[in-house]
Symmetry: C2
Subunit: 297 residues, 2 copies
């Protein structure tokens, strides 16, 4: 079994009411890969510059992540600088694409056919390109963001028409479909082809919708959210990793995936950058998951 | 078994994106009583004017609600006029207290001792007065609103110190406690004495918190919210009515109460005034409740 994750890799400078970090490990593919690494073997596809710190590479290796698809290009690593005032919405202070500007995902031989593929948040045209180059036996999922929904909705629609699973925030799915009711909006996405849409609602949890069922999952409670960056990527990584061993998206399988995803996202936001999801014991994750089970009606 | 409900009774003129109603049946005690009537016998305590329509009295009687505590006073019935733009927040256009201005709850003999008491949304000093006059064998609960939290927080604190169960909206519990994290805010309320607090989060469901457990309940899905008025009262009414037969607030009992409360609140918002919760078959409520069970992870 293996999960291929394609997405951004960057160095984040983040300020929140709880503190700040400079040039910390970040990027959609990194959050998703580290999160997924507790459940399956992960292949990370992305690009960094020659300034990407060895410590970050070590961190990824330590989590057993296969880095054959990690390209190291001449130039500087993608950088994002953001600030949170109310923890619900990041304000972007600056974005330096650097080597990410010319990124074309190159799939190593061992990733051309894989069990599952997570197209984490990158330009939909790159997501499409990867879709065309891979043969996936089980599940293909995409995540996205408002920037692409507003900037290239047609490309995004093409991606959505070709994946099984879509991850979107509540405001994103409403904006993309033009529908205000979350259930109608989700139905519009399912009508485009996917089997499952997972609508992420931040501290209010998530809702998974298929043609046959709806599943609500609470967010695992967090007393202090220190840094919400990467919560959605962490969620998607764990979700997809759990699905790895399950060909069918049954209610039970998706329930379990939502639980693990909710736990990992909560651990992630409880500390800056990826620090909340580093070097975890699987037993600790299981304990959190059991606790979450006892918190649902 | 019997549940005593004390609160406002009014005639509401409501405008929402789905339409409008004029002088429709409303008031916290009415929503709560009709909702509760499907699960237990209900005694309604409140005041109306001589203009209160016979059809509204019939409606209450038809639901088996005991009206010995319904005072008919000289003057006009309490009226509220409100408008919803985004369905999440009512804008009050006018409030005419009328006979409600001088309301002093008078408890008929059969209500002086009761199984359960729901102090629906009225002035905390009236809630206190009722508390002093009744002997409750099982559970006493209070609901409230921002108006009292801002206007007479000390009276409200006294009420909270004497009840077992508190219902509050998320923004209300944060405002009342001055804490931004819902779990810290709920803990502050529990520290004042209650055994249980139920934080209502509108379309995001609800969270019940005790010293021993947390329970998350989703909102039962609604495709079109026509009129959110009374959702919280309907929720509290069903919740308290279900608790009637259960002396202990165990996880299982509270889970079931949350399910019924969630279903009744959803039925309520799917139509104007109390129309969504009139003349229901218990079997239909059970079916919705079973569906909700299958929607939680």
């Amino acid at each position: 079994m293996s999960l291929v994750v394609v997405g951004s890799i960057g160095l984040d400078t983040i300020s929140t009411p709880s503190g700040s970090v400079v040039d910390a490990v970040g990027g959609s593919a990194v959050y998703a890969s580290v999160s997924a690494s507790y459940f399956t073997s992960v292949n990370l596809i992305g690009v960094v510059g020659i300034d990407y710190p060895d410590s970050a590479i070590d961190l990824l290796r330590r989590h057993g992540i296969n880095l054959e698809g990690l390209e190291i290009a001449e130039g500087k690593t993608f950088r994002w600088k953001g600030e949170y005032h109310d923890l619900n919405k990041a304000e972007t202070l600056s974005t330096e694409l650097n080597v990410f500007a010319d990124f074309i995902p190159k799939l190593p031989q061992n990733c051309i056919s894989c069990h599952s593929l997570l197209l984490a948040n990158i330009h939909p045209s790159l997501q499409l390109r990867v879709l065309e180059e891979t043969r996936v036996y089980h599940h293909v999922a995409c995540d996205t963001m408002n920037f692409w929904i507003n900037g290239c909705p047609d490309d995004l629609a093409q991606v959505i028409g070709r994946v099984h699973i879509v991850f979107m925030n509540e405001d994103e799915v409403k904006a993309f479909t033009g529908k205000h009711n979350i259930f109608s909006a989700a139905q519009s996405v399912l009508d485009m082809g996917p089997t499952l849409i997972v609508v992420k609602r931040g501290e209010y949890g998530s809702v998974a919708l298929t043609r046959d069922y709806i599943l609500f999952a609470p967010a695992y409670p967090v007393r202090e959210v220190k840094d919400p960056t990467g919560a959605g990527d962490t969620f998607a990584g764990a979700f997809m990793a759990w699905l790895e061993g399950h060909a069918e998206l049954s209610r039970e399988v998706v329930s379990q995936a939502l639980r693990y995803a909710s736990v990992m996202a909560a651990l992630n936001v409880s500390d800056f950058s990826v620090m909340g999801i580093l070097d975890l014991q699987r037993e600790s994750i299981e304990n959190h998951k059991e606790r979450l089970c006892r918190m649902t009606i």
